[in-house]
Symmetry: C2
DNA sequence: TAATGGGTGCACT
DNA sequence: AAGTGCACCCATT
């Protein structure tokens, strides 16, 4: 069983190496194929609490993704599956006659979160797909939405004091126009201990204390999230993917540098404090000195603008409202070779990225939240699945966490 | 008041003549503009019963449009407006890789029905827009849907015996593979008496007896619905609009002849009789000899394949599943000139027609079911609104009709 | 709720 | 012809 799971993982670099060379000679056709493959990296959210029904999933995810400036909505749901995506921005861009072609139901952002209930495991699997965005991530704008206010109200009803304090702090920063640095999800994926422990159900290495006082959202600005590069000499040159759309867009929208997406507060008027009147800010910054790097090196929540061979600062006030984002994707290599790549991806504008993803869907591996379901297919080998230890961004309620630990280990190991 | 309404109507030919010449010299740009203008003819359904709430509208419309092979669903609704469209066909065409570009939420068929509540008139106005279809009209397939079965069950619960009998008859024909000729809505629009009577609220000229025994769905196959052509010598040559898409489609999908859309039964197996077990077919065809031409000449429900200068029969078994449809549109001219045109339109394939309509949305008149709300804008002048007396296709329940007549005439004439 | 992908009705905003 | 959030579906394997 363990060997089989390792085999499925080790098939990743094989497929990568088989097709990597061909795709590096990017024709317009396999260019799209490359983007599709490389953006389909799946990131498992691992400690998932027990949900009595699917409607408990969205608030739980909001606790994780709101601080990153990601406002999720349900794209599709049924009793056994919920797919989330970014809320469609109601921008005045749509009123621009030049953008009439991007008509209704434009699939602007490819970011997806898929939650699927596994009957066999009796748990919900949550996977982040297409971890890239075609828009800015603005927590300050999120705080003005009704959904966020309802979310906050729900936190108060649940007496989730830690989450309330965390979000109050974020709102406070936003209201003061302080730069809110919320790193994109990215992870170092050794895929070692976890896989053997749980057979593709990636258990966390770290067991954060339930009474931890550290502020989970304070990130060290002076270090970067890096994947372990055990064999850097084997690294291929960084892939720079551009589409034909580039020429039609403002060239300033593209940068050649690795950049971690940040959210900047734009409005600092009194309205931003509207819902904070009843909040006690007395001890707002008393407990935020600890840096959450105690997760045993699995992941660093930090930002470093200087990462790639050529670097520059992203303009803080981009002219293009939907300026392109560069994100760093850590590609999971096999356990055997252990040579992760750093992919420098460029997000094409708006629908283009969706079209590219869709055009190559037949070639791209299908996402699978339970990758060992069909052992003969070896599907997981081409998934490039990443294990994202998100716990530094989220503090569970105590009851949620105890429910999580109550899952029968026999079910997990089966 | 009467003068003002007439003025708004007479502005139609003015705009037609002003732009008609330019558009006849069709460049690819104004070609789309022409299609948009000419397909935006609005058809008022006039005697509209009183609806306690919006959910009563759809069953009422289904009684009208099911027999025509049109399966409507709600596209959008709120308390004051309901927009209907054709049900999206769940065709395997979408699985064809060549049609992947027509992705999700493709607005295949432009046909729309808009119901909007007029606060001033305290009634629901119902308007048919884009009276053209990008698909076949198949009553036999409709009878197999759950929605139709629910519709029939609702009729039984309402004891609407006339409608039950009518639909039983249609189902019976379909089950026997009999050709089911259901004419597309089209109408002769004199726009004379009605307008003066009700100021853009087109009252019916005919007052069909509530106890009429004639079968409303029996159409004379040997005569055609013709718009009065008082000045045929002024007629422009028939416009034949084609898009660039033509070359990529099967040429057999296009015909050069005016054709009234018909629905043909394809399956005549026992399953088609599934819901007819408890139906008494004893007098099925006893009352269908009368031709419903007693509506004082306002409209003929009849089909004539020979209408245009060059005519041929539409193939009963088209090879292309979504073969193009030619429909005859009677364009409303002014009262003064009274020179209606016959437009021979070609329906482009699938989304193409939608794109053409959309591209010219800014030039096209906006739909407004209460066209006199803003008298200064003279919107109705460019609507080319048609008055469709649909009563030959529908028998009201007695209570519905009495409710209709209970509307305060003062409100109507205001 | 086999797992997993997607279509689309339709009412909320 | 509001755009879209959400859920009831269906399809394939
Ligand atoms: Zn996004
Ligand atoms: Zn249609």
């Amino acid at each position: 069983m363990t060997a089989k799971s390792i085999k499925s993982i080790t098939s990743v670099p094989i497929s990568m190496s088989k097709t990597g060379k061909m795709r590096l000679t990017a024709s317009p056709d396999n260019l799209a194929s490359m983007m599709s493959r490389d953006q389909n990296k799946l990131i498992h959210l691992d400690p998932v609490p027990f949900f009595k029904d699917r409607h408990e999933i969205k608030p739980w995810l909001q606790k994780i993704f709101y601080p990153q400036g990601i406002d999720i909505v349900i794209e599709r749901s049924d009793s056994g599956k919920v797919t989330f995506k970014c809320r469609s921005v109601r921008s005045n861009m749509r009123l621009n006659p030049e953008f009439k072609s991007t008509s209704s139901r434009s699939h602007a952002c490819p970011f997806r979160i898929r939650a699927a209930f596994s009957v066999r495991l009796q748990k919900w699997n949550v996977v982040v797909m297409n971890n890239i965005h075609a828009h800015e991530l603005r927590f300050d704008l999120i705080t003005k939405t009704d959904d966020y206010k309802k979310f906050k109200e729900t936190l108060r009803q649940k007496r989730d004091e830690k989450a309330i304090k965390t979000f109050d702090e974020l709102e406070y920063k936003a209201s003061l126009n302080l730069p809110l640095v919320t790193p994109i999800i990215s992870c170092d994926c050794g895929l070692t201990k976890e896989i053997e422990a749980s057979n593709n159900i990636f258990l966390p290495i770290s067991n954060p204390s339930l009474t931890s006082k550290k502020s989970v959202l304070k990130a060290n600005k002076n270090s970067v999230s890096k994947a372990k590069s055990k064999q850097p000499e084997n690294s291929k040159p960084g892939l720079r993917l551009k589409t034909q759309l580039d020429s039609t867009l403002d060239a300033t929208g593209f940068l050649d540098d690795i950049k971690v997406q940040s959210a900047f507060v734009s409005t600092g008027n009194a309205e931003s404090l509207m819902d904070l009147n009843e909040i006690d800010f007395t001890n707002m910054f008393n407990n935020n000195s600890a840096i959450p790097n105690s997760n045993q090196g699995l992941m660093d929540f930090s930002v470093d603008p200087i990462t790639g061979p050529s670097s520059s600062l992203f303009p803080s006030t981009p002219i293009e409202p939907f300026s392109q984002n560069n994100v760093t994707l850590a590609i999971s290599e096999s356990i055997a070779s252990s040579s992760p790549n750093f992919m420098e991806m460029k997000a094409p504008y708006e629908d283009e990225i969706m079209d590219l993803l869709k055009d190559n869907k037949s070639n791209a591996p299908t996402s699978d939240t339970d990758i060992n379901t069909d052992l003969g297919k070896d599907i997981s080998g081409s998934l490039g699945m990443l294990n994202y230890n998100y716990e530094a961004l989220l503090q569970f309620n105590d009851n949620e966490f105890s429910e999580l630990k109550s899952i029968d280990p026999a079910l997990i190991s089966k």
